[in-house]
């Protein structure tokens, strides 16, 4: 058998059921890989004792028979998820020392299914970033390199630690969250699969909130089948999240037939951006050809308001963030600034938030404060929400015309080097999400599938966008694309 940490969820599940291995062995293999990979800075809080405890319990459960698919499978959890008794600080200094007294619904569901948490994963602070460079823990590093160049590359963000850990086989899979592309962009940068489900599929309860109307959790995995397996465990109605959907969760894995004959796949012309690298353009048309060869019908579509998605997002997301992050006040949890004699409560708030929030988070909180302030609320916030209605309608019109899924590039480029964007203005960094952010604004499911390598040997991904609540059908199309693309490259181990 290959090294146990290199298995997919499906392979490990099948091996466990056959008795070829145990959860303890799988977990030990991952813990060893994690300890040897500190250079990637992916796992920022390791929980080996907890993992071994859960692995033993999972082995007992598997022996007793009838264990669920995720039982005994070692995974990583993004630091944004509150995990009981385990540091959960959203990669922020302001939550230093915070150990939740409760467990997020999604990580609880994964634990109930018997999966084994190995530790917490690096990310951008409060999930605000596209390169994992805003983390209080320092940068997460991609296991991928440009040929023999040893420059460190970003694993993407905000779920950068999750992407790096899965790509480097430190865990079999990981949780991510996606507010504007934070699952799909890092998945594309690291040759892994990431799906953001329909808004309302996964409970947001216990996940540190960034922008509540956009945030969704999802799995980051080594294959589409694994994404189907893990997503099913993460989904489901939760009375503790008022936006959680009361809908039955289908058996996503059973829907992976690979048969997409007769499906209509839309190619949106507005996603053909000026200055798009030739390699991305080719990947996209190759992807369309693959789906066509698998029996799908390729149609040109128009999503006319695409251009306005990023500016609308950069009003709505900061506005919601400024409200959500108001709770970090140095009173109830986390860190309080050292105060000078005579400082009152206002100084406590202002000093705590100035030293607790990093630069990007401060900027977004203040932009959000501005667009919500008296006199600008209509001009910025309400206008952005109107544009959001139009963006959603673009998709509804496409689906009403018979389109089953939409194919786009996942990112405008391959992974860039850590530090390469430091001098760029924030808007340049925001452009990373140009193909993914529309999907959050419209509340739709979107999946990134690795589809090829660029000339420097770095992974490139394609995105498929589906109809609301049709994750099963979307994953099946992704499965067909995965089969046709035959992406098997792995990073060469240097760490």
């Amino acid at each position: 058998m290959t090294e146990l940490n290199k298995l997919t969820l499906a392979e490990a599940r099948d091996a466990l059921r056959k008795g070829d291995t145990t959860s303890v062995e799988l977990t030990e293999a991952c813990l060893k890989a994690i300890d040897a990979a500190d250079a990637l800075n992916a796992f920022v809080h390791k929980t080996p004792e907890l993992a071994m405890e859960r692995a033993k319990a999972a082995d007992d459960r598997i022996k007793a028979g009838d264990a669920p698919s995720m039982c005994g499978l070692p995974i990583g959890i993004k630091d944004l998820f509150c995990t009981k008794g385990v540091p959960s600080q959203a990669a922020s200094k302001i939550l230093e020392g915070f150990k939740p007294e409760y467990e997020s619904t999604v990580s609880q569901k994964l634990a109930d299914a018997g999966s084994v948490m190995l530790g917490k994963l690096n990310m951008d602070e409060f999930a605000m970033g596209s390169s994992n460079e805003t983390s209080v823990y320092g940068n997460a590093v991609s296991p991928w390199r440009r040929g023999n160049d040893d420059a460190q590359l970003t694993p993407g963000g905000s779920s950068g630690g999750s992407a790096s850990a899965v790509a480097a086989d430190l865990c079999l899979a990981a949780t991510g969250t996606d507010t504007g592309g934070s699952i799909r962009q890092p998945a594309a940068f690291t040759g892994t699969v990431g799906i953001k489900p329909t808004y309302g599929r996964c409970s947001r309860w216990g996940i540190v909130a960034f922008a509540s109307s956009l945030d969704q959790a999802g799995p980051m995995t080594k294959s589409v089948r694994d994404a189907a397996i893990m997503l099913e465990t993460m989904c489901g109605h939760d009375p503790k999240d008022s936006t959680s959907a009361e809908l039955a969760v289908p058996d996503f894995e059973a829907m992976l037939t690979g048969d997409i004959r007769g499906k209509k796949i839309g190619i949106p012309k507005e996603y053909r951006m000026d200055g798009m690298p030739g390699e991305i353009e080719k990947l996209w048309s190759d992807g369309a050809e693959m789906l066509k060869a698998a029996g799908a019908e390729i149609v040109d579509i128009s999503l006319p308001h695409t251009k306005y998605a990023l500016p609308a997002y950069y009003v709505i997301a900061p506005a919601e963030a400024s409200s959500n992050l108001a709770r970090y006040d140095g009173v109830r949890y986390g860190r309080r600034a050292t105060l000078d004699a005579g400082d009152g409560i206002t100084e406590m708030y202002e000093k705590t938030r100035a030293e607790g929030f990093g630069h990007e988070v401060q900027r977004r909180v203040m932009v959000g404060t501005y667009v919500l302030s008296a006199g600008f609320y209509d001009a910025y916030y309400n206008r952005a929400r109107r544009v959001r209605t139009l963006i959603k309608k673009d998709f509804e019109d496409a689906f009403a015309a018979g389109v089953d899924a939409i194919l786009t590039p996942a990112t405008p480029s391959a992974a860039f080097g850590l530090g390469e964007m430091t001098e760029a203005d924030p808007v340049q960094m925001y452009l990373n999400d140009v193909f993914t952010v529309t999907v959050n604004l419209a509340g739709l499911p979107g999946v990134a599938v690795p589809a090829g390598l660029d000339s420097q040997g770095l992974p490139l991904g394609l995105q498929l966008i589906g109809k609301p609540w049709e994750e099963g059908d979307l994953l099946n199309t992704a499965y067909a694309l995965e089969n046709a693309a035959g992406f098997v490259a792995k990073p060469q181990q240097w760490w």
């Binding site: 009173v331 206002t346 929030f357 932009v367 404060t369 109107r386 203005d425 419209a442 509340g443």
Partner: protein, 95 residues
């Protein structure tokens, strides 16, 4: 719309984030850069379009107004930077 230093200072105050005076010009520049990007939204005809309140067409759920949880003072206070005698402690609020 252009943001000057005094507006930047006002926003920082509203957000309860201490910004030193010498950092205000750079902050104002950053705001202007981002707001310049956002201004593109003015090109869109939004006449008669409703602002989105919920991305999925669902009525916000209601529940009975009853106590379902509680009596966990220790847990509530466990993460507080300063908790005393069963309360959150903060600097003096009133003189």
């Amino acid at each position: 719309m252009s943001i000057d230093q005094s507006t930047a200072a006002k926003v920082a105050k509203l957000a309860r984030i201490k910004v030193e005076d010498d950092a205000l010009p750079a902050l104002a520049d950053e705001f202007n850069n981002i707001l310049g990007f956002i201004e593109q939204l003015n090109e869109v005809d939004v006449e008669g379009v409703e602002p989105m309140t919920s991305v999925t067409p669902q009525r916000l759920k209601r529940r009975a107004d009853e106590v379902t949880d509680g009596s966990q003072q220790d847990k509530v206070l466990a993460n507080a930077p300063d908790a005393r005698e069963g309360f959150f402690a903060v600097p003096k609020v009133v003189e």
